[in-house]
């Protein structure tokens, strides 16, 4: 733009990389709490729970919340196809950026895509929507997701699947399917790394100051 104008952040990545060894005393090195196999097991279990809870996969619509929620939705869809051959394997993406309540507190976020499976004809009316996210924390992202869903249509029911629930909810929101409950302190940072998104191997790591 013009000299002096602030460039939009191209992503909402936290500025400090948690992998970098910290020189700040009192900051513990990061520790891995879930490995590749743990994550795979958790997703398989969640897939089974989804089918069980909904008595099948009829009208089921997985919507991943970018970025890693989309990848997790993809993996859940694969598993559901195996469990429930009638399931078509499709999943969608729900971008919640424009519904967030903290836009003014952050550098400008890039708006992501909302993509519904083509078979839906653009509507989510009467679907059983399962929102998929990596970490459930304050609940504000899910609040935004519910608003975003509302603008897309009227699902029969909305459920929530999260790989990690780290507590510290600020809104009356809970997950229907949780890969792992992870007690943390607020000052800690929980990161989910997925091979297809981040490279390396799948893991969930905690870094930052322990209580």
């Amino acid at each position: 733009m013009n000299p002096g104008s602030r460039m939009p952040e191209s992503s909402a990545l936290p500025s400090q990389a948690s992998t970098a060894p910290s020189t700040d005393p009192g900051v513990a090195a990061e520790r891995t709490v879930l490995g590749e196999a743990d994550i795979a097991r958790a997703l398989t279990r969640i897939a089974h729970e989804i089918v069980e809870r909904n008595k099948g996969a009829a009208d089921l619509l997985l919507l991943g919340i970018p970025t890693r929620g989309v990848q997790l939705a993809h993996r859940l869809a694969e598993r559901l196809t195996q469990i429930e051959p009638a399931f078509d394997g499709e999943y969608g993406t729900l971008d919640v950026t424009m519904y967030r309540d903290d836009l003014r507190r952050q550098p400008t976020r890039a708006v992501g895509q909302t993509v519904l499976p083509g078979s839906l004809d653009g509507t989510i009316d009467d679907k059983v929507v399962v929102l998929v996210d990596d970490v459930l924390f304050s609940g504000r992202t899910i609040r935004a997701a519910l608003d975003a869903l509302n603008d897309l249509g009227r699902p029969r029911v909305v459920q929530l699947a999260a790989l990690v629930d780290r507590g510290h909810r600020e809104l009356p929101i809970r997950a229907d399917y949780v890969g792992k409950n992870l007690p943390t302190s607020r000052s800690e940072r929980v990161r989910v790394r997925l091979a297809d998104v981040d490279g390396g191997t799948d893991s969930v790591v905690i870094s930052g100051v322990a209580p």
């Binding site: 013009n2 003014r104 708006v111 909302t114 519904l116």
Partner: protein, 350 residues
Amino acid sequence: MKHLLTTQGLSKDDAILLLDTSAQMAATQSRENKKLPTLRGRTVVNLFYEDSTRTRISFETAAKRLSADVINFSAKGSSVSKGESLKDTALTLHAMGADAVVVRHSASGAAHQLAHAGWLDAGVLNAGDGMHQHPTQALLDAFTIRRHLVGNVGTGVPGSRQSTDTSAGADLSGLRIAIVGDVLHSRVARSNVYLLRTLGAEVTLVAPPTLVPVGVETWPCRVSYHLDETLEQWQPDAVMMLRVQRERMSGGSGSFFPSPMEYSRKFGFDARRLAVLPDHSIVMHPGPMNRGLEISAAAADHPRSVIVEQVANGVAVRMAALYLLLAGTDETGTEKTGTEKTSTDERNTL
């Protein structure tokens, strides 16, 4: 982005971010509920010193679709040709707490001054300043070109996978765009030349020599005085016709060309000239058109004309610009309080 004032110097990354964001905004505009809550509680002022109902409505629609409060401040007609008024108006808007000002002004540089003279601290969006720039027009032109000529864009069900804009992240490399008409007085031409070049397209300006500015040689484009030659030999992918102001030909000894008929004959776009172009090519016009002067009805209404679509895309592009200007942290940082930090950190793995 604090302001959007000009396309000259706009980085390629920013330009593509604007186009990609526009694509996301466009996707929301085919829903039943077109309104997003994104800019709730923010105030956008449309400050129009020139009549332009079309542009004002486009910005107003964009702001309202993002739930911003819109105040239309039409300064046209009152005695505001003197400069103090711009400053005083700016101070008024500042006092009213405007978060963004969309400004249209007949004076080149008015938007730049609003942004930088220290009169107000709102984001400034240039909706056309004199003969200088009209950046959202260029962005909507680039957006329209990208949708048509880059990637494989279906016209399937809105919001569905088929309608995904596969041109996301793409530039306009390799495309040839001809901009035809009154380049000298045109902020649309200036904005497009810089933006299209930044996005990798090649641009040729086509105009009679009287309507090409002295100093054009530093612009990142080529210049031709011959429309037919350009169409036949250069085979542009898109032809953008510029509006010719009627007053340009009625200045007596100061008129820029001999007669409307001669202009039409040499620089008007019609079905015959359209037939010379490649089959995929598109015809554009920023509007409002002088049918029969710079463009014939047959060309304007031809299936390869995307003029109506340009108007529709204008709303999405302006939504994107407003979003990128207003959705982020206040420059002053007043919204930031240390204790709130963790509550905003939920998506700490994103």
